[in-house]
Amino acid sequence: MIEIQNINKTFNPGTVNEVKALCDVTCTIDEGSFVVLLGTNGSGKSTLLNAVAGNFLPDSGKITLDAIDITRMPEHKRAKYIGRVFQNPFSGTAPDMSIAENITLAAKRGLHRSLGWALPKTAIEEFREKVRPLNMGLEDRLDSPIGKLSGGQRQALTLLMATWLKPKLLLLDEHTAALDPKTASKVIQLTKEVVEKEKLTTMMVTHSMQQAVNLGDRILMLHNGRIVYEFNGQEKQRLKSNDLLALFDQIRRKDQIDATTADMIGHLYI
């Protein structure tokens, strides 16, 4: 279970570029829950994910994961509990190193790394068996550098690596946004399978209404750094992508009114 309490984050405070990325965000995610985070650009959904992952420290608030306070824990220490797949296929793998070497790095996520041989023969066999179900023919290419693979293959591998050791929390940051539709749907299928099989607690950021509707058991919609809508259980299951689009429209219109109103007030009183 992950508890996020009153998280605030302002980037570039005190400058013209000041951005209130997260304002008092609070939510609790139950064990085994699959939460989809939605929102417009700059709504704070990726920022929220990065706050949990530890890319930066929040200005205030508290984050606990299974009762462990991770608020001030550096990124590499909380990696022990967290599996991640990034938006950019280049982020999640070491391009000049082989598939097998990348996997062996993930197979020791958060564990002690000894001076023992990183790739014993027995490990290679195990890797091959676990890579085979991806159906990408990668099991025969374990020695080739990951940089030679396509974006889709890399994301599928990153997903496999993120879940190699069962994480307490899986973070997916628009992990199909850089892929073509066909590859994206394959990666989504793999995501669904692994999350269901391992009963992983998951937070996923997406721009795709389709994914938001089809995946997960809960939707959080963010806007201007706040959670503005939330759908759970039955309500989430009934939701259609059109409903979500309508909501987005509504949010956008509200924004426009705010701006014009401000403008009007400006004209009237200044």
Binding site: S91, L105, R109, R113
Partner: protein, 310 residues
Amino acid sequence: MSLLIGAITIGLILALLALGIFISFRIFNFADITAEGSLTLGASISAAMIVAGFNPLLATLVALAGGFIAGALTGIIHTKFEINGLLSGILVMTALYSINLHVMGKSNVPLMSESTVITYFEDLAKWVMPGTETISLLGNSIPAKDIVILASVFVIVSIFGALLYAFFKSNFGTAMRATGNNQQMIRAQGVNTKTMIILGLAVSNALIALSGAILAQFQGFADVQMGIGMLVWGLASVIIGEALINDKSLGFLITGAIFGSVIFRLLVAVALRIGMNPNDLKLITALFVFIALVLPKILKKNRMKGIEIK
């Protein structure tokens, strides 16, 4: 011929420098100029200790440890204080200049009359080949001790090359290589990238200091200026090795760096022999490295234009 043997020996001694540069330049992707200070540091620590009467083997090991600390310092300045890698190296290199002068007490320490690690090798020669003063090789007679010194240095370099290979193939070393390749990725796998960079630069400079310590004992003196230009020298060795072997796997890269250093030293020896002005040496080395760095880019650009260069 004797000149040739000498050139190969120095090439092998500087292969340790090339291995150190290989770590900073190829694993962590930045040219760590601490090398120029730590090479001299290794030379001055070993020279000062030998002159003070310490065991030369102990002196060499302390020199190695000194390089380790110098590299770690650059790593700490770079990661903990978030100063650009090149600048961190420059700071430590500059500081080391004074430290080296303090260690030696003067700018040049002769070792000609001292017992050094090289003396051990000469004793080894007397023990292996008693009574043999010279060996005939390809019609030339060469002092037997020179051959034994060359072989001993080769064994030392091979051992360090093999150790480095095993280290980078271990779980820990693999994580270190990944740190140089993709920091975001390896942090997400729970690795403290700062520690990795600090340790990596420490190991790199330990090898370089060792190179300096052996070089000083071989040439019979330590000089405060001897590190100048050594970074580019090491880069040239690494690049020649890569071009020569044309295989990006770790074992070949390490072997390549070692042989690159020997070949580069031989090229220099030949160039000096046929009358190149020694003052031009560093200019030509720099030009060479510049061309080696730029050439692949030009070839790539032309390939994109559709021109095949064979």
